[in-house]
Amino acid sequence: MTVQLNDQGVIVLSGRSTVSDAEELLQHLLQYRSAVVDWRECSSAHAAVVQVLLVARPKLQGPPSGSFLRDYVESLLT
């Protein structure tokens, strides 16, 4: 599962995040407004997922492992 809420209330994005993850991520963020999103294990993310992050602007724990995300996308979200 690429989107998971762990016991510490951190939303973890891992592996290759796909379009269906967007909905789940959104739900988690709606429920826990101040949750941190840990994407250190995230190697790639679908545009829909990035879109959710752009709207919600949660606190991020990075850097993401994927080089494209790290080089180009991370700076847009911090």
Binding site: S67, F68, D71, Y72, S75
Partner: protein
């Protein structure tokens, strides 16, 4: 393939690091920071930068020791170009840094434009 070059800035002064970061980020680089040679070595091994900008006088591990350690590493880590920016203006200091493997030596203060110009050249980024 990503075209954004990564630069590791190593200096114990947070203001100096900010000064370099400001110029380099605006020039399109991705910047990582370390406050002494020890932290720098860790960072280099985690994510190898395309260029290192390093001070000499730092606690725990100074720039010269860091460069010696860096250059002893196997390629490609060992061959990462490194520019020294130091307060020391003496001939001996320059010679020591070069012997340790510094690819260029600047005496502080360095203008942002100069920093960016040389960073681009050493990282292979067109002006």
């Amino acid at each position: 393939m990503s075209n954004v070059k990564n630069i590791l800035v190593v200096d114990d002064s947070s203001i100096v690091r900010l000064y370099y970061r400001d110029a380099l980020v605006r020039a399109g680089f991705h910047v990582d920071e370390a406050f002494n040679g020890l932290e720098a070595l860790e960072k280099v091994l985690t994510a190898a930068p395309d260029l290192i900008i390093v001070d000499i006088n730092m606690p725990k591990m100074d720039g010269v020791t860091f460069l010696q350690a860096l250059r002893r590493h196997a390629l490609p880590i060992g061959s990462i170009p490194a520019l020294v920016v130091s307060t020391e203006a003496g001939e001996d200091d320059l010679a020591t840094a070069v012997a340790a493997g510094a690819n260029f030596y600047f005496v502080k203060p360095i203008a942002q434009a100069t920093l960016v110009q040389y960073a681009k050249l050493f990282a292979g980024v067109p002006a």
